[in-house]
Symmetry: C2
Subunit: 431 residues, 2 copies
């Protein structure tokens, strides 16, 4: 007999695990909806052209790409950003701005499966298109902050940086964009020494090298002081100073928005994607080595995908990672897996219709009353009710029925008593 298995790197979500993922998804959706971000959904299959247009090599070599029966080269999306940019550039081009969109979606990458990493993974996101004002950046941070609180995290921090500071320093020095991207990539990987070497190879001025080294050191939670030090370091560098002012304004607005979370500022911080043009951030909880999500400003995103220029700031909370963190910290609520419910069983076979009717009436009143559907003995049915965590069993028997009563069994207390049918709902309605 053949045994069929899941494809390597894929997951079956059984009820307990799925309930957890749905809990996270629901919190994310609730949260971005509350702030006015409308949910959209794009297809899993996209044209290879779209997906590969701006993808880094890391993604490009790990795509599920193939030809469909019509000969089109298509791919399972490895990320959502290109799809959202496509929709904004085309179908939502004429919508009033700002445009605030949210999404929750699965993506596919042929990565090496390992603990907590799968080839199909869930990603949420929300993006604000049409504002370059720092309050827009602050709002995205505030929604992330509220999401973490709503999920039940009390102890988390936000790492914040700004790619335009260093990019402006490089641009002023005449460093080509491709070289800037290489530098950013090294920074993203925390390979500062390699970044120094690359900068030497590029033969930039001593002043520029010193500025970069200086910025790399500006890391910590005392962001007011770090901003002040940054300002000293960047004297005369107008573009970089403007970026620093932008970062300060963003932080100020997050405070007006009620964000009290600790900020870890890092002026040498970069994120993988080349899209970013301004503020960037990542969200961390202690004891988990990876960011639960992150984002930033990418003002050229829509243009990159064929749209008209439109400033944008957004983020991507990782559903899988958040679920992992909630699990590790024991923050999933108990009710996810414990639903109060009632199993209705007939003692005599001929009373089955009466039992069905009783269950149906309870359901009409909103009680999750389930029917015993196998025709097995009362003992087997009760044993099932115990294993499945039923709160009550209702036994419908001829003796009690003559008195218009049924037996109500409390499965936890393992006690039972006779109850008039007319009182049944009140006896088991859950307060």
């Amino acid at each position: 007999m053949t045994t069929y298995r899941t494809v390597r790197g894929m997951r079956d979500f059984l009820p307990a695990d799925l309930a957890k993922r749905r809990f996270v998804e629901e919190k994310v959706r609730e949260c971005f909806n509350f702030y006015g971000y409308d949910e959209v959904e794009t297809p899993i299959l996209e044209s290879f052209d779209l997906i590969s247009a701006k993808a880094g090599d890391e993604i490009r070599h790990r795509m599920y790409a193939f030809k469909d029966l019509g000969g089109r080269m298509i791919a399972l999306r490895p990320e959502i950003t290109p799809s959202i940019a496509r929709v904004v550039a085309n179908k939502l081009r004429t919508e009033v701005k700002p445009l605030k969109l949210g999404y929750i979606a699965n993506c596919f990458r042929y990565d090496n499966p390992q603990m907590g990493r799968y080839r199909e993974f869930w990603q949420a996101g929300f993006e604000l298109f049409g504002s370059s004002h720092p309050v827009a950046d602050a709002e995205v941070l505030a929604v992330n902050n509220e999401l973490m609180r709503r999920l039940g995290f009390t102890d988390f921090s936000i790492k914040i940086g700004h790619v335009a500071i260093l990019r402006q320093v490089f641009t002023d020095e005449g460093v080509a964009e491709a070289d800037q991207n290489r530098l950013m990539e090294l920074m993203d990987k925390q390979e500062h020494t390699k970044a120094y070497h690359l900068l030497s190879d590029l033969k930039v001025s001593d002043d520029c090298q010193a500025t970069m080294k200086g910025l790399f050191k500006l890391r910590g939670t005392d962001w007011k002081n770090l901003l002040e030090k940054g300002r000293q370091l960047l004297q005369q560098k107008e573009g970089a100073l403007a970026a620093l002012d932008n970062l300060e304004a963003i932080i100020g607005f997050t405070r007006s928005l009620g964000v009290k979370t600790e900020l870890f500022m890092d002026l040498g911080f970069a994120r993988g994607l080349e899209y970013y043009t301004g503020m960037i951030f990542e969200v961390f909880v202690p004891g988990l080595g990876i960011a639960l999500g992150g984002g930033g400003r990418y003002d050229h995103l829509v243009e990159l995908f064929g749209g008209e220029p439109l400033p944008a700031v957004g983020c991507a909370p990782g559903i899988d990672r958040i679920a992992l963190a909630l699990e590790k910290k024991g923050l999933f609520p108990d009710q996810l897996t414990h639903v109060e419910k009632v199993l209705v069983v007939s003692i005599q076979k001929e009373l089955l219709p009466k039992a069905l009717e009783l269950a149906s009436n309870l359901r009409k009143q909103g009680v999750a009353a389930h029917n015993e559907v196998t025709g097995r003995s009362v003992g087997s049915a009760l044993s099932y009710a115990g294993k499945k965590n039923y709160r009550y069993a209702v036994l419908v028997g001829s003796t009690e029925l003559e008195r218009q009563c049924v037996i109500l069994r409390d499965m936890k207390a393992e006690a039972q008593r006779e109850v008039p049918i007319t009182n049944l709902f009140n006896e088991i309605a859950f307060r």
Copy 2:
């Protein structure tokens, strides 16, 4: 500039359309959860072996199948049943029975796109494993009935049949299973004449031919009378009579379960899949030519996918088709697209932090207060609030602020007045 498009046959769900799909999904989930069906989710990518094992030619030739980077032949699921059978046969093998599972999932088929038909479509389902008792069949019908009511349909009917009646007649006559499948396929396509010809070619007895012709005529809403006629037609045919009794028992139990919906009985009714072994059904609303969903009993399903024998009955409500029907009948609730909300705008730039703070406080009290995030003029912000259907705008200006007040503008009435900040929540809290 490149314009990227969706791949042919795929859909973008923009906010209004997605809200509708989510409404349907939520009703389905709510409904099967209430009856004790636990949600599971299986991966979109499955092994080609699993997917093609029992698929009919129609599905097999329309699959998105390809080799992954590891050389595995994989496919995007064209239906969910094999995946659910795989999970039940393996991971849930030792679970207590009955096992009640539900799911909501997207599937992929390379069909010709046309009005309302796409290459990515949404399918729900719920299945009851581990009971061959007719009350299990009745429960699946009852959940479908409740789902239709919860969705808002008042005028719908359930078409019901039983494949074991005719199959038993054929089996008694010595018709091979492959030929039976061909006959069932013709019946499914309503090609009765071709079925008669095939039966003649198979050289079955006149009695058998007469029985089939007789059963084909037993169609209508007067199911008690039709069952009686069926009984006369099937005299002496014990197997077929037992199937007829089973159908009668199922219908009886649906009545105990409170199902009052009109049943259209059709004893010559068959459904596409060869899996079916007993009762089958489809749900219809008037004026829509297609079934919104359907299902039946398939007692060998789990075995077919490598599991131990386990009776099963289930169904598959079509999410896309239900949405289409709700749309056509105008049954989607208004609130899906009209959320009451408040836009908070600062009149003077320097009051932006104060406006952010006010909005943040309203949110803490549960009001969907949104920030104006672009820095534009008050006039532009109000025009935006109008276009986006905001219920209120709150204007924060220095004159009113001196009196601890703000301006509350009713966007529908186009009227505004001064309101003390301390009263703001009570003035706009939605009752």
